[in-house]
């Protein structure tokens, strides 16, 4: 078990309803520093909703989420944005790279927004680490899907967030690419000291992540 001070993510009695219908129910979950967790469950089980609550993009109907010991859900909007900015990087299935910027500029913008300045050395190191050194000045539309995913991972990690949340990062990939993606996420997270929380309905990833939170039965199994 992790001690409270080491708990990066802590969820208590979390429940979210839309138009009176429960779309997410997570009685309890926590993850400490370095405890990469797979958030698994079928479509509609509330994975994306949980990620939105953890990142502070939506306020749950009831319950509490603490991020790095701060009550994300009950903070005012500006403080929520601030907490997300400082502690969380996000990787979406649809990448969401800024189309008008090169790979390097995408990372630079993410760093500037999170840290207030860009660190070119860190950016170059990360771009090299994800194998995009030769594509650093390419526009997103010039990248293959695999290259885009690697760029998106690098962007999520470039401001050295404590938590990296990934929403269905492998669902569109074949086995080999799905494992490569998971390995890349794990290795870059280890390198930057980030803790991963990966939402997926992809059971292939279970082998890589010993900790899972199954949303149909929301309990942490070790």
């Amino acid at each position: 078990m992790t001690t409270p001070s080491e708990r990066l993510i802590e969820v208590q009695g979390l429940r979210h309803e839309i138009a009176g219908r429960c779309v997410m129910d997570v009685p309890a979950f926590s993850a400490g520093r370095g405890e990469h967790t797979l958030l698994i469950g079928p479509s509609g089980s509330g994975k994306t909703t949980l990620i939105n609550v953890i990142t502070g993009l939506i306020t749950p109907t009831s319950g509490e989420v603490r991020i790095d010991d701060q009550p994300m859900s009950s903070l005012p909007p500006a403080r929520r944005d601030e907490l997300r900015r400082r502690t969380i990087g996000v990787v979406f299935q649809t990448l969401r790279l800024i189309s008008a910027l090169t790979v390097r500029q995408n990372l630079s913008l993410a760093q500037t927004l999170a840290l207030g300045h860009a660190e070119p050395a860190v950016i170059d190191d990360l771009i090299g680490r994800v194998g995009l050194a030769h594509r650093a000045d390419a526009m997103p539309r010039e990248l293959s899907h695999g290259e885009g995913q690697r760029a998106a991972i690098a962007r999520a990690l470039c401001a050295r967030p404590a938590i990296v949340v990934a929403d269905e990062p492998t669902s569109a990939l074949d086995d080999a690419n799905a494992f490569a993606m998971a390995d890349l996420l794990l290795s870059t997270a280890e390198a930057t000291g980030a803790t991963l929380l990966i939402a997926t309905h992809d059971n292939r990833l279970r082998d890589r992540f010993p900790r899972t939170l199954a949303l149909s039965a929301p309990q942490v199994t070790a």
Binding site: L57, R84, R85, Q93, A100, Q105, N106, S108, L109, A114
Partner: protein
């Protein structure tokens, strides 16, 4: 990479759209600036040429024509008036100065104007070379005449009848350049100034030297001149420029002169106001068109940003996920509109000055009017500021959406 840098990157990313919007704004700003440059510089020039002249006295006819011909030297005179009018007005205690003008000849389309040294003094003319005329057929030429004809001191030339330069040449009545004036920025620059007696002599009256008489008489076959010779009417001048000594003159003198059968008096201020208000109808129409064009380009920027931002809703949600605050994103979008507008406005000013430079180089008349591409008017700043404000305003509505956006919903909708 900052959000300001991102604004620029988005503009570059849709280069064609950006270029078209800039072009549209450039056209409207250029039109407005050209109007400003033309109207302010020309009215300045009008004012400068007419400064200090309270009244013009000439033959009956159109008062505007009288002003244009005798002050601005652009129209044909209304006719001639008796020389005695000069003495009559000089005797009037409310009149400070009377400068006689005798027009009718030209040299290479530069007007030869018979007058007194006081005319040169009136426009603060300063001799760059040579001396002032003091005998018939001696001429002092304006700076532009010297440049245009290449004439230097001692150069002899023959005036031709008429003001257009294609009339009958007064052969054997050569003028001599005795002085060249420094530029004054007034009508004086494009005139050839000579004593009134030269003009009389050239037309066969009065003080022409005897040998010229013989030479002229020896050349037969000029019925116009011979007829004029036969009649030998009293000496005449074309117009008088009058300066008042007291404001009382303005009340009494014009009506007194206009009662004389042969004379008319016209006030430059009144006639130029009338002319400018007539021209004003035209410039108002062009100005309205340019303003319309500017509103159109404002709308175009609005449409461009609105549709671009619809496509970028996912990007905006991502910016929020990455921690950008709504006011910062709002500023980034407004900046995009402002950058577009600023580029269009500045290009518009450059194009306008380029067009004026081109026009002045192509049409010497405009240069004569004192049109300069290098002069900047305060109104240009107002136009540029208005264009930039409009760009910001056009971006406002799309930008305000950032405060209402539901990030989670947008992320779900724009997968």
């Amino acid at each position: 990479m900052t959000l300001a840098g991102l604004s620029l990157a988005y503009l570059k990313d849709r280069a064609l759209n950006t270029a078209l919007n800039i072009l549209l704004l450039t056209l409207s700003v250029a039109t407005l600036v050209i109007l400003v440059l033309f109207s302010s510089q020309l009215s300045d020039r009008f004012a400068r040429d007419a400064q200090g002249i309270d009244l013009v006295v000439g033959a009956k006819g159109s008062p505007l024509q009288l002003i244009l011909s005798s002050i601005y030297q652009v129209d044909v005179p209304t006719g001639n008036i008796p020389l005695e009018t000069v003495d009559m007005l000089r005797a009037d205690p409310t009149v400070a100065q009377v400068i006689p003008l005798a027009l009718g000849d030209s040299f290479r389309s530069y007007r030869i104007i018979g007058t007194e040294a006081a005319y040169v003094d009136h426009y603060a003319g300063r001799l760059a070379e040579g001396r002032m005329f003091n005998a018939p057929y001696e001429a002092v030429i304006g700076a532009q005449v010297a440049r245009g004809t290449g004439a230097g001191l001692g150069q002899r030339f023959e005036g031709s009848h008429g003001l257009s330069g294609d009339g009958h040449v007064h052969e054997a009545t050569p003028f001599e350049v005795v002085g060249i004036l420094a530029p004054t920025g007034t009508v004086l620059d494009r005139l050839i100034v000579t004593p009134v007696s030269s003009v009389w002599a050239a037309h066969g009256f009065g003080t022409r030297p005897h040998e010229d008489h013989e030479a002229h008489d020896a050349a037969p076959g000029d019925p116009e001149h011979e007829a004029a010779h036969a009649a030998e009417p009293d000496l005449e001048v074309t117009a008088l420029l009058v300066k008042y000594r007291s404001p009382l003159a303005a009340v009494r003198l014009p009506s007194f002169i206009n009662r004389q059968t042969q004379l008319q008096a016209a006030a430059p201020a009144v006639e130029m106001t009338r002319l400018l208000s007539l021209l004003g109808v035209g410039t108002d129409a062009v100005r309205a068109f340019a303003v319309l064009l500017m509103i159109t380009s404002g709308l175009s920027i609005f449409v461009a940003l609105y549709s671009a931002l619809r496509q970028r809703e996912g990007d905006m949600a991502m910016l929020r996920v990455m921690g950008a605050r709504p006011p910062a994103i709002f500023g980034h979008i407004v900046l995009e509109g402002v950058l577009l507008a600023a580029a269009g406005a500045l290009l518009g000013v450059i194009v306008a000055h380029g067009v004026v430079a081109f026009a002045a180089a192509t049409f010497p008349q405009l240069q004569d009017m004192g049109l300069s591409a290098l002069r900047f008017e305060p109104a240009e700043t107002v136009i540029v500021a208005a264009a930039i404000a409009m760009g910001g305003l056009a971006a406002l509505v799309p930008a305000l959406k950032v405060f209402r956006v539901d990030i989670a919903q947008t992320l779900a909708d724009t997968r």
